[in-house]
Symmetry: C2
Subunit: 239 residues, 2 copies
């Protein structure tokens, strides 16, 4: 079943003009015809059944029929990830959408090589992955921020799982036992955090250091593993 | 630190002629010089320090110095994965190596499109990932097999975690509580198992059905998540 994320308000009978990307996808890739059924969601009003009303090459219109699933808030989980290489960062954003993160925030650390990224491109990847994975919202991809600034502006009450491969930390699943409330997961660059950064992170009262096993993981693997463990221990993968 | 997987026996003073791939990598990519230190492992005798002895463009020789880490058996975990598209399958093999699987076996199911794969190429990916992740062995990539044959020849005593998105199964972390001994994880094709296959799998006395949360996961995400949860609950990610 095709699912599209749209910006418009959704209500029975509403007509939706799709943007060029979605229109091309439906017309050229899926060869949609008037009367075809699909689903739309906007992150605010749940998922609705809709029918294709008009098909032009660059302009497809839908008619909203009736609600299919009510909006539900997902787990309050941020993924904060060092600006790694483009391919790895794109994979991480895609997987963060599949694994139910609410926001993705790239972070600049001492051992981060890159200093910028195409946030609009990452947001498009997050949107497409959200359409495919069946969720009712799209994770927000935020502008990159320096680690110091991130910490200085930390949101009160949010816990931080800080993946520390330098030894001495608890296994992540143990560190997450009994976790409740809003959390963030922090994944460092391939070269790891600097000693100064590690010391700073370990001193934060809201941070918990954790390890992801005895092998060296690439940043994308570490991000997927940490999101998985959080969802299984504290998120919506529980019964 | 460069780590190379070699087929030869390792002992203090042994001279190793590297294959063309490793030789080119050291000579052309890493610009190795005689006297440079690296590590070698063969999956049987632990990891050893070695020095570059001779450098030719296509033939580099090493001299083994002394042992650095003793061989240890990893967890006894197989990953069985439906033959998905090449890029996803290659990702899965790479991640299986990082996440400590002992063997990877592609499986043909009713909804699998492909019917063959380059096992030698997948084995090379597993080897390179093992070199980078720091493990002391390399997962063996086996020839694809049909699901019926896999089940007919099942190894006595090995449990199976069968990721079933069709509903009614326990969360994977709960299904793995108290797990011990040899296990396998089975990841189905993107289109899921057929009803007949699901019924067959659910009837196996050694199989446990499990879900990976409420969202639809791509095969590579599902494989990484399931390997992660097994390692955290039953493998070497515990304290």
């Amino acid at each position: 079943m095709i699912r599209l994320f749209v910006p418009q308000d959704l209500a029975a009978g509403a007509e939706l003009s799709l943007d060029e990307g979605h229109s091309r996808y439906l017309a050229a890739v899926m060869r949609a015809k008037p009367g075809d059924e699909l689903r739309v969601f906007n992150g605010r009003q749940g998922e609705w059944r809709a029918l294709v009303a008009q098909v032009g090459k660059r302009a497809v219109a839908l008619q909203v029929i009736d609600p299919a699933r009510p909006q539900e808030p997902g787990p309050d989980l941020d993924l904060i990830v060092a600006l790694v290489k483009r391919a790895a960062l794109e994979t991480i954003v895609e997987k963060a959408a599949e694994l139910g993160a609410r926001r993705v925030r790239p972070v600049l650390t001492e051992r981060t090589n890159a200093d910028h990224t195409r946030v609009d491109r990452l947001q498009a990847i997050a949107t497409e992955a959200s359409e495919q994975t069946g969720r009712l919202d799209v994770p927000q991809v935020l502008e990159p921020v320096k680690l110091e600034k991130l910490v200085a502006e930390w949101e009160r009450g949010r816990r931080l799982l800080f993946c520390d491969e330098a030894g001495g930390a608890k296994p992540a699943l143990e560190a997450l036992k009994g976790a409740i409330g809003p959390w963030a997961i922090l994944i460092g660059p391939e070269g790891g955090f600097s000693p100064r950064e590690r010391e700073m992170l370990r001193g934060l009262p809201y941070a918990t250091a954790a390890t992801l096993g005895p092998r060296i993981l690439r940043a994308d693997t570490a991000a997927i593993s940490a999101l998985t463990l959080w969802q299984a221990a504290a998120g919506d993968w529980r019964t």
